[in-house]
Symmetry: C2
Amino acid sequence: MSYLGVGVSPGNVPVSHGSNLRVIDRRVRLAELVLRCVICGLAILAAALIGTDTQVREIFTIQKKAKFTDMKSLVFLVIANGIAAAYSLVQVLRCVLSMVRGSVLFNKPLAWAIFSGDQVMAYLTLAAVAAAAQSSVFAKLGQAELQWMKTCNLYVKFCNQSGEGIASAVLVSLSMMVLSAISAFSLFRLYGDNKGKNSGGW
Amino acid sequence: MSYLGVGVSPGNVPVSHGSNLRVIDRRVRLAELVLRCVICGLAILAAALIGTDTQVREIFTIQKKAKFTDMKSLVFLVIANGIAAAYSLVQVLRCVLSMVRGSVLFNKPLAWAIFSGDQVMAYLTLAAVAAAAQSSVFAKLGQAELQWMKTCNLYVKFCNQSGEGIASAVLVSLSMMVLSAISAFSLFRLYGDNKGKNSGGW
């Protein structure tokens, strides 16, 4: 445990924090902020696209209305993306605050909270997307063996709009995966010792 | 970067690796080994339960056969769990080898490979389970709005067995999530510096 502080420029950057690590820190924080903004936007887009998705069709004088609440997996997807958007907004504010202050994350309980939140969000959004994608496949192609008929040839506009929503939700899910790896990095390097820097190639 | 080596017992344990960290290391490696064995067993069980699931019923002299290949999400689940079982078996061998040798993971490329593999497996098994669970809900409850009728009242034994398989796959998925957090810990602490130990409460 040596706090040498040699060659560290003055300012609010903690001592013994090498310039190499500081560059990584800055990049990681920037990537985190950008990803959280992207997730927030895309999650709102996905929830809005699916949540406003309806289509009315007249079939032999009978009016039939397709809405997203007919399919529970779409409701789950809207809820999951709503939660992801709200969560990301809070996290964006935290990121901006920590960037303005110039502080580096060395608070283990906070790092654990962020890590846990990101993990839950990544798995939640992925599960929601997988379930919704499965439902869409049934709606688009049907399942002849079970006599489940395809419904997308009746409600073309409805299916296209929910397809766009699901595509947006897939991007949310992928971004959350990258983000959960970033927050794992931010947390677990707090448990490291100096050995790693010498033994690894990169 | 100081390699003091003070108070470190002889053996193949690297120097400057505190006894506290060595205890954590041992526990983490044991937890990893146990989890990987559990995953291997449960994934084989899930794949076997679903892969052998068939039921023949006679309805008005017409013989109808339900098999897991009728539902693509069950095929995906069998494949995902097959891959998870094979992957876990390889990882169990690696764990045992590193425990016999008494070596600690300080090889960054290997840690990156394990981390990436575990992440992919966690997301793959979760997506497969979510899709299969969605299909099962349709099969069990039907979807009245789309005139998709429930089929589980016709094929009770088939549905029960695939339900058990899905339950087993859910456990595989949950264990993979814990494991991917463990491998994230093993990787990213290699990027740490000593500061974390002093500033955090735990």
